[in-house]
Amino acid sequence: MEDIMKKINLKINGRPRQVVTDPDMLLVDLLRVGHRLTSVKQSCDRKGQCGACTVVVNGKATLACITKVASLEGADIITDEGLGTPANPHLIQEAYVLSGAIQCGFCTPGMIMATKALLDVNPDPSTEEIKKAFRRNLCRCTGYIKIIDAVKLAGRFVRGEIKPEDIRPKPTDAKMGVSHPRPSAMIKACGTAEFTGDIELPGALELAAVRSPHAHALVKGIDTSVAEKMPGVVGVITAKDIKGTNRLKYIIGDRPVLCEGKVQQLGDAVAAVVANTREQALAAAKAVKVKYELLPVLSSPQEALAEDAPQIHADRPNLCYVQPVIKGDAAGAFAKAAAVVEGRFKTQINHQAPMEPEASVAFLEGDGEDPVLVIIGRSINIHGSMAILQQALGYENMRYEEAYSGGQFGLKLEVVTEGIAGAAALHFKRPIRYIPSLEESILITSKRHAFDTHIKLAADAKGKLTAMAMDIVVDNGAYYSIGDVILRRALHMLSSSYYIPNIDTHSRLVYTNNPYGSAARGAGPPQTHYALECAMDMLAEKLKLDPLEFRKHNSLKTGQTKATGYVEPDVWPFPELCDAIKPFYERAKNERSAHQNGTIRRGVGLGAAAFGIGQPADKAAAVAELDFDDGVTVYAAAADPGEGNDSMLTQLAAQVLGLPMDKVRAVSRNTDQTAASGPASGSRITYMIGGAAVDALTQLKNAALEVGSLSYSAFKEAGKPTHYLGEKKILETASLDPDTGQGPTFESNVHAIQMAEVEVNTETGEVKILRMTTAVDAGPIINPHNVQGQLEGGMDMGAGYALREEHIAGKTKDWVSFKFPTMKTSFDMEVLTRETPRIRGTLGATGVGEMSMVSTAPAIINAIKDACGVWIQDLPATPAKVKAALSRT
């Protein structure tokens, strides 16, 4: 049937517009494509699941991705751009900035428009009214706490009770311990921050990948003849068109950009089609015929370790890495122990779930024989990603730019779409845009590793831990990535907050045909802490000791050895955190006692963590430069997909140099301008890159003392350099002993203890989290909002990991099947902070982003046990699992 076109009159941000539309045109396309209103984001494949595209239509919050333009005759449409600009922001946009509600910023414009619609009809909403109004708006970063704060603050602004200037920190206010607005916050609030999908690239070709529907198969042939003749198609590339190694190699070169003769996991790319439009590219990709010969699929480490299992990679066994940790005499200690507990704890493969789908653009800049291949994407390690791409594509003259990035949580350590886009740009010598769907993005990205851990833990009659044994099997998936690094991180932090004199642990990393694992918030320790912290509660119960007192009693002390035999040199303020949370714990236990009968039972659980910061041999660099206007710029590749690294660098600069906040800047997102500072992972940014920045800034400060002024002209007159390179290096450099796992470990730690309060429905098995409380000591706080935001987002992510989320390749396709956290699943949170300076901290500080979820899952599982008497030893603790466990009691 022919499309019936229709002329529509409407208003967009106050301007009358006439639109000729077909019956299927969606409002999101009219706004994003037709009017370049890129605040209207896309995440959920136009299923109306995420709210990132929320705009106000005739006064109501409306999802642009499911609203047809043909239905909008006479409509009055407002987008985030229509509310205000960074120079003249709306009160709601100000409220989001001043509440610390903006982390990655991808969901922010939609949230702000939902706020506008709500406050227009209800200027003083309650928390429950806010939760109801925002039921269709998702956020992965904040745990929703600061978004609710922002809506309430916006209400106060709108009602005229206070003004933004009443609460906005002044540039001259103290630099440490003050929530100065993030430098990037206002452009994110106003929707003008460009994410990769927002970048205008005239004449760009669109790319679609041909991906394997099989998890393990030989590629016997690829027929592109039909696809190449389809409308709009410019061409198809396969592995033979890639001039470099065709391997995206961190440590082992086993992951191809485009597969050659074999696919190893579901969704592996075998070809890429480029066409004039995305629809044409997608249609042609479907027409590429690939002949596969199916191979046995190894879907678990047990299958992969079987004697007759096929080898996934021809050049290495499925058992790809082992590392023991042997300290003292565990067997002897177990034999003498007063109490021993043991259990098996399994964690799931999980998706990190940044809201922004994968995206990259690539183009050649300049002419001549050696133009620059520019890749714009979402890497958290731009120099490292560029080096990987240079090798893979066989092209050296490159620049990687990090666009604003919609969350990452470890996932963006890996190069994913950039390789294919770059290869196509080099092959066709045309600009390329590759923006896969959410479903494809979920399928092709790295995942959190599944751990299968058997733990045995012992204590003496006085309640002191004496021995621990673990057998850990890690499903590394189809590609090596940094699997050994993730596993070693777990081993480094094996004994966590405690002193355990005898340890006997064995760990194995195994290739399977599952999605490959890589960095994911916490990166290894969340999995092993689940086993350890549940075993701590089991042991406390056996010894009839209070779980909080038991943990405090076993705290490591400065000068004692950690799991790797390393003598802890730094402060260890864990007992003080136990004291800090104790009043909250006692209150929770008292409240629990009134809910021990009936169907709904209440429970309280704890989980502790000592999360290592500054791993042996880590190093970072940063540059501080005095500018013409006597301001200072820090140049460091400190990616900021939401944590607030721009705040950290600028507040440190202002603190070290005594400058107001409006005289300091940070440049972090371009390989041509920044020092290579390593990835934004492992909570290393404040400690390592911040430390390097402080070194550079201190050099600049010392130079200013010699010159007598921090003035550009004075420096020039004195012949002093205005540019200083700073470094930070971890003093210990040795690796763990491959046979004993003994050796130096992280030189500092962030400490925390978390408490979960839950209600368990003993009939349905449903678990409701009432409240999470974290007591944390990360050293002196640079920006309180940023610290709270990391903790709140981490607790929310940890709750999803504990109760709902699991990635099943091919079945987890969107935010509903992923069970993305919502306002409905959100819960109250409290963050208690202590600020003990660390010996080699950055002005005493460490970092909190990853620690924030390390002990959340065990705290929740321990609370479920406290409520109804069952241990859930296989995450996630779904209602079905809880109900089944209850039925066995």
């Binding site: 120099h383 350590l413 940094i482 290579a676 540019h723 690796s735």
Partner: protein, 110 residues
């Protein structure tokens, strides 16, 4: 079983760590004496003035910017063509000259 971490070697009387691709873990461990030894291992029996010019450029660039130079910077800074640079060091520019100059691997640090 391969250990994918750092490998310690004693060179010129010093313990120096290298990564899994043979890059210096810490550029501060580099010295001319060590460079001569590594060059010899790699098949370069003699480091000429041109070799030293290239290595000095690498090190000076890194010391100022905190990152490695790209080929376009090398061409300008050394006044050598890419083919001259590639043939000057066994392993070429990246795996030869850059490694011999003591610059770290940008893929390290997790």
């Amino acid at each position: 079983m391969q250990e994918f971490g750092r490998e310690a070697r004693i060179l010129a009387g010093r313990k120096i760590y290298f990564d899994w691709e043979g890059f210096f873990w810490d550029s501060g461990d580099w010295s001319e004496e060590v460079a001569v030894l590594l060059a010899w291992e790699g098949g370069l029996s003699e480091l000429t003035a041109t070799h030293w010019k290239v290595m000095r450029f690498f090190r000076d660039y890194y010391a100022y910017h905190g990152r490695a130079p790209l080929n376009r910077h090398l061409r300008e800074g050394t006044e050598l063509s890419l083919s001259e640079l590639e043939s000057l060091f066994p392993g070429g520019i990246r795996l030869g000259a850059r490694r011999l100059s003591g610059l770290p691997n940008p893929k390290s640090c997790f």
